[in-house]
Symmetry: C2
Subunit: 416 residues, 2 copies
Amino acid sequence: MPIVLAANVEHSNVLLALVLMLVAAKVLAEVFERLRQPAVVGEILAGVLLGPSVLAWVQPSDFISLTAEIGVIFLLFNVGLETKPQAILAVGKRAFIVAVLGVIVPFAAGYLIAVLWGGSKIEAMFIGAALVATSVGITARVLSSLGLLDAPTARIILGAAVIDDILGLLILSVVSSFSKGEVNYWSLAGTAGLAIFFTLFVALFGTRLVSRLAPKIENLHISKPFFNAGLILCLGLSFAANYIGVAAIIGAFLAGMALSEATEDNHKMHKMTSGITEFFVPFFLVNIGMQLNLSIFKDVSVIFFAIIITTAAVLTKFIGCGLGALGLGWRRSAQVGIGMVPRGEVGIVVAQIGLGLAVVSEAFFAAVLFMAIATTLIAPPFIKILFAGEEAAREKTDADDAGGIIHETDDWSRIG
Amino acid sequence: MPIVLAANVEHSNVLLALVLMLVAAKVLAEVFERLRQPAVVGEILAGVLLGPSVLAWVQPSDFISLTAEIGVIFLLFNVGLETKPQAILAVGKRAFIVAVLGVIVPFAAGYLIAVLWGGSKIEAMFIGAALVATSVGITARVLSSLGLLDAPTARIILGAAVIDDILGLLILSVVSSFSKGEVNYWSLAGTAGLAIFFTLFVALFGTRLVSRLAPKIENLHISKPFFNAGLILCLGLSFAANYIGVAAIIGAFLAGMALSEATEDNHKMHKMTSGITEFFVPFFLVNIGMQLNLSIFKDVSVIFFAIIITTAAVLTKFIGCGLGALGLGWRRSAQVGIGMVPRGEVGIVVAQIGLGLAVVSEAFFAAVLFMAIATTLIAPPFIKILFAGEEAAREKTDADDAGGIIHETDDWSRIG
């Protein structure tokens, strides 16, 4: 009946998809909250439900994947706003060890399993590489909802995730080169150098540059100048990071950190960006779930392989990263280990590249896809349990603060 | 050099486009603010600059047009949050007269000019229809940045824009039917009935439904339940409006109005959505400018026709709507008239439909495109000048408030 609808059919479809995703995400988040489980798990399952696996009401599309990307960019930007560079640099050495062990152990395990399962060496390397990169968005979301982003282990996780992403980029570069039969070491060194330079430069000098520019920005005539400058920095560094080859969210996180010390403006900006984040993050989570296509598991052997690779993915990060943080005691080492478990979209991208280069088979790709989504579902409940102590301490501190007594949570900042 | 870039080239390109649009918008907004001109004009010109007409750095795309649509949806949602239904209903009769005169006069003028210029009757009807629909986003943005959304003439403009959009839908339906040689009056009546029912239902009962549901929403376990419910309502009604055939922004505006009385939650929500709006609106404005393609003006006669149709577009809305508001005195009638001038994306959509039906020629389409963008550039400076008195009064009131004395700006609410 609506005669003029034609011109806006596409907009209409997209609006419907967004509404469905938002409603499904919030309904399942509510269910999971009531079951005292993390809301993120519900929101990812909402994607499984809406996506091709079950109802097929919403199809994955470029628009949705871009919306999801903007969601995780703002999520990490907000996390960055709450993270002072010193806090990360202070745990730098520990984060580095965690990242390195969290790269070596999963890569070796993935490689071995794939070879034993009959994969080629190149294929096995891709499976190993897909197990490497932690998707810190999920962990950040869970810790943020618990109000625990400034817990010392949270900082180690964030720092390790940044280093992990650079190492993952290098491994993927090497593996991609191998698969093309040509390894250009100069090009690899260039990629590595650029990624490290970019990260260190923003982490070390970003804050200083921002505090020098802040008064000039505040003098601009446009409305909300600092907020707008922050948005530009966030998207600009996300683009730069993506262009260099590391994840866009690393750029967003660094942008947030660079702004984290401009405290007064930061506070206002944080409120405004939190609205953007709240709006967008559900699309990031739902989109992860929507990637799952259960129909690829026609073959029973694929199911077995998927379960094995998922188990390996969970255990190797947990043990590898946990080992790196063992000096902090068992519980904190377990917190770091479990926080590094989610692979999410990063693992999928690696496997997609292998699929695109025709060196990874459909069956192995299906298994990696399953692993990437399963790790995002498995980790959050354990993160919640393992951080329960910190949460209680945090609530106590808050309650004490409200009563006028301020406790310095000094024991946190001494660790690193 | 970045070997793994391939997988994210599209994301990379989109991020770059977003950064360029944001930077260009804010730089030109700053320039225009310093020239004491409305920032929106700078932001639209930023689009002209980046788009195919000048630099061609950013190409119009589905993603950008959807981002722009979300921008104007949140803009009108925010305007709705600041608009109580009674305030609009109180000026309903006046708004209706303004809307009707603002539809008849431009339609008649557009039709006559096109016929005199040698267009067919059907083509002339489309030109007339393209002159009908006010794009209230531009005016709302300017008034909002002046803090004048609750000026009485602002309410008349908002109410008239809603009615105007419904009338525009009907005219477009009739004209489209004519062009296909078949007018189904039942279908037309159905479209009209549905649009009117939807608008009146939400305007009259939305607030009551929301206030009944609000306590239940607040009891949900998810974080920020009221904000999330508001987002769902906003996108849901935008979709519904679009589906019925009226503009999505009408649905967003009605959603905002329905939530406008849940004052306490509204206040929190308003802060969070204002971040989303601030982020997205520049893309809406830049996207308008990007539609312009100056290369279509190869023919001098097209330039002449474009100038004539633009002049007619400005004068007929200004006079037609101004006449409808004449009872309020000259200055306020001029405020209403100029506020209804911008056509923006609505006029473009109408002309595109005509082009798609092969009844509107390329030359006429080019002229309408020019008119749609030119009216969004011409109106804002005059809006600023004509509302200068209200702005001064508002600033005085604010200053007095700050001094502890509260003046009821009662004279405003008595008008309607």
